[in-house]
Symmetry: none
């Protein structure tokens, strides 16, 4: 019984990500998601109270996944630069590998830009990252005058854009030459 439920929930999750990211939230009908998951539309309401709640739950989960993906392999003992370089590569690979999920997540963030509650919840995903920033500022490897937001902008915004170009086919991963690209970003946040 329990196993079956979990499987269904997972199937539902995957189907929702797939459909939402393909057609947008408003463009995706519960019926389509249900069909994709091999369920009846009514069954979805056993697991989620509403379409919006499903979407919110999805995004929450996506945030967790992305956050975890970025910090994968990062250890306490690493130097700040080494750790950030690792998250940088992780992010690029996550976007390239799970583009649908990433786009869905980003779409959500852009859409709710002005909603402070949602924004605050979003911050949680970056605590690990921000901790690295704190350490970097403390040990002199990062410019102390740059805020978390500024650091993230300088370090990671180019990564996101490069990754998107890889997905869009305008660049290949080799052309992106990750270490050099990271080095350039790093240069822009040095003290």
């Amino acid at each position: 019984m329990r196993v079956k439920d979990e499987k269904k929930r997972e199937r539902l999750f995957d189907a929702a990500v797939k459909v939402f990211s393909r057609y947008g939230v408003e463009g995706s009908s519960i019926a389509r998601i249900a069909r994709e998951a091999g369920l009846s539309p009514a069954t979805i309401y056993v697991y989620f109270a509403s379409k919006d709640e499903m979407f919110e739950g999805l995004v929450l989960e996506l945030g967790r996944r992305m956050s975890a993906a970025m910090l994968d392999g990062v250890e306490e003992a690493m130097a700040v630069r080494e750790a950030l370089e690792r998250t940088w590569y992780n992010l690029v690979r996550y976007i390239v590998g799970e583009f649908e999920q990433y786009l869905l997540f980003e779409l959500h963030r852009e859409t709710r830009f002005f909603d402070p509650e949602s924004y605050g919840r979003g911050r949680a995903y970056y605590t690990g990252l921000f901790e690295l920033f704190r350490r970097g500022r403390a040990d002199g490897s990062l410019a102390p005058e740059l805020s978390d937001y500024a650091l993230r902008a300088h370090l990671f915004a180019p990564a996101v854009r490069l990754a998107k170009h890889v997905v869009g086919g305008q660049l290949t991963l080799e052309e992106a030459r990750l270490p050099d690209a990271f080095a350039r970003c790093w240069r822009s946040v040095a003290p």
Copy 2:
């Protein structure tokens, strides 16, 4: 016969940008846009053949505007760095000043990421910029191994993100300290 009211067209444009950028394309109803513009829903169809065509027309116009805004004040005689710095500030100011328009434009680009025709049309907006890149590589002020896409990513992606944080209230324009921020971006694309 009654004559087409130019004011009406403009009201419609503004209303559509506002509503589309707030709720997304699928999430925006013709009725809502009409209400926002103070028109009857049917009247919209005097100006646009369909909702999709309206959206496409809007985005085309927005692209023109953004492109023009970025190149405002840029002269042939300027040094590459000076010119790019100007476009950089222009972009930040455009995003901050016309955030709805920018968001709508970006929404379109993200959504049609994989549509090559749409992508090609999008490139047209950046020819002025890419010409500057060419000159910069030629005169040694830009790293010659960086492609147009890479240059844009390193130089402008942080600008976009910083501007968004200003709009979102996480940063003020002063905190963003534009010249320093630009200098950091510039550093990341130096040879």
Copy 3:
């Protein structure tokens, strides 16, 4: 001025018959009729008060035309059989030659079957025919016990159906062998 008006009215008439008979009354938009006639939709309202009135006017005119076509070449002096034979052929040729008009007329009659006022108006088209029936009953060439309706049914209903089959391509005019076909109908109304 006058000439121009008449031409427009005629163009409008022809366009309306064409469009109505092709798409049905409800399926035909004023805009389409206007386009077909090379006019603006608004101009139609100079000539007709409403779509329904236009349709009614059309049907009236069509009734007149069909009535005149049926009686074409019929003379007072003719024997009843000769006269009816003539109207019989005339009817077949009218349906085959002006099928669109005929269908439109018939459609109207079927649709308003229960409307007595409309039905009464329709009777007017047949006064010439019914006069022939009266003479035929009087001179013994037609069965006196058959009412106008019955006579029309036995004599003309087969003609209509045969004509339709010619139009539909299931019969050619030769196969229909008009004189024999009429003779058979005639046989069925003999005393």
Copy 4:
């Protein structure tokens, strides 16, 4: 789960026939049919994929019914004339008894006159009848030179028209004097 209510389907069928036959296909709105059936408009789409499909489905069923009604009580052993006389009466009674259904069926046939596919499908309803024609030609009771279409025109077209006049109130069933009327039709197809 809730189970499909067979009563509902029937109510829908009757309502659709009623409304379609009164206002035509284009003139009938889904909302009106739903109201007539005591359902929500959306419920109609549980039973039919679209308005057009509903109409086609209806007509198919109507054709089956009319066909069955005409051949009711006809036996292999009957003489051709006896069998045809029976179908003749059956047809008149069907039209008088189920006028709405008949009108709708006819409406469809007239409207799709030129569509061969639809026409072919329509022929299926008459195979039983045409088989009687074949036998009649073979045993010398019907004029051998008359095609199926011609026979049907001479025999049945008057029946249809008489029945319509009964429905319209211009004739009563007695006035129509069925046996005499049939005898007249029969006379017109004799060899």
